[in-house]
Symmetry: C2
């Protein structure tokens, strides 16, 4: 599968490396893939030149990455996701499975972040992306756990859940297949893309559990009667 | 223990009946405890006259209820909680354990509700109550499950969690003791009252799980590495 990551941070690198290790054709897309940019240190991640050497995958521009991909991951900071996806180009997203991993976190009041008011409440980042790119097949997934857990759920022992939502059943099945390839066995389908409101609202409790417990190796399990 | 419920709806009636059945001295407080008001049908609850007859507990005004109680539950609709507690009287709350069970749900866009913008993001209802009544010892608890589960966690089989937060360790211990008396064994302390942001943010996913799964008999279990 030809997979493009929109964003070059720690989540992009972790997901991209895991997919490249499966033999997928992975490209990380950033705004300006110059040699200087690829050599730069990155927060909670390695320089992209180093990531490229380690994985054998590629780094390209947002637009090249999206144009060449069958499945696209949005792994940008949530407040900037719609702008980054516009830079990737609506025509390059049309018809594609677009897995939205981002969270619209607002750090303007320091830690802990809260959900951006323009992208929460009666809406969500997932919905904003689907509205901005109506021809993309948006699936919200992987946004409620640490990057290391996304690609290796066994890092947290026992049963715990991965949430998915989206309007396109086939696109959701593609995202679910990728999740299963990482070892996820318990997928919770939250329905259409308005389910992204619920998935993004997990962040405040996830961050709080990290702050009070000392580790981001946390997930939730839904328990029903 | 003398326990006052501020609010007379289904949550107040369920918690109040369970505490009265333990032999606690329970009073439900409403704005206007007239015979006409007590005879009125109530949404997802019985008329208070009927509740009173069933439980042997009492119904009084907000202020009388708060004045006579050692432990007070806020079981009003979250958008109206601060006003209801003002009607109960700051002096009647001073020094008391005040267990805030309410959620600041905004139904103005229909179902599903979202978190009231004035009481979410970088704040919460729990914090707003603590700020409005600095002498009360506010504990956020019981707000992430259906009323029937609050008083009988065994309705949902297996391990699942009750979240608590608050600034006063002794008040949290009182709330935890009440939870244990209902059968809760797994309590997750989220720290000071800013933890209420996380607890209230559980509502969007809880409501979504109800909508997609067909039953409110749902809770979450935190799973850690």
């Amino acid at each position: 599968m030809r997979i493009g990551m929109i964003g070059g941070g720690g989540v992009a690198q972790t997901l991209g490396a895991a997919l490249a290790a499966q033999g997928q054709d992975v490209v990380i897309g950033i705004r300006n893939p110059s040699p200087e940019e690829l050599a730069k240190p990155r927060a909670q991640a390695v320089p992209l030149a180093e990531w490229r050497a380690r994985t054998g995958a590629k780094v390209a521009s947002f637009a090249e990455t999206a144009a060449g991909a069958e499945v696209i991951f949005n792994v940008t900071q949530g407040q900037h996701s719609v702008a980054a996806l516009h830079a990737a180009g609506a025509k390059n997203l049309a018809g594609k499975v677009l897995i939205d991993v981002a969270n619209p976190l607002d750090f303007s009041a320091g830690m802990p972040p809260f959900l951006d008011r323009a992208l929460s409440g009666p809406t969500s980042l997932g919905e904003a992306i689907q509205a901005a790119f109506p021809e993309a097949r948006v699936v919200k997934a992987f946004n409620t756990i640490a990057a290391a857990v996304m690609v290796n759920p066994g890092l947290i022992p026992g049963a715990h859940d991965l949430f998915l939502s989206g309007n396109d059943a086939e696109a959701k099945a593609v995202a679910a297949g990728i999740a299963r390839s990482f070892g996820w066995t318990s997928l919770v389908d939250l329905g259409d893309i308005t389910g992204a409101r619920a998935q993004e609202a997990v962040l405040p409790i996830w961050v709080r559990l990290w702050m009070t417990g000392g580790s981001p190796m946390i997930n939730l399990k839904v328990v029903r009667a």
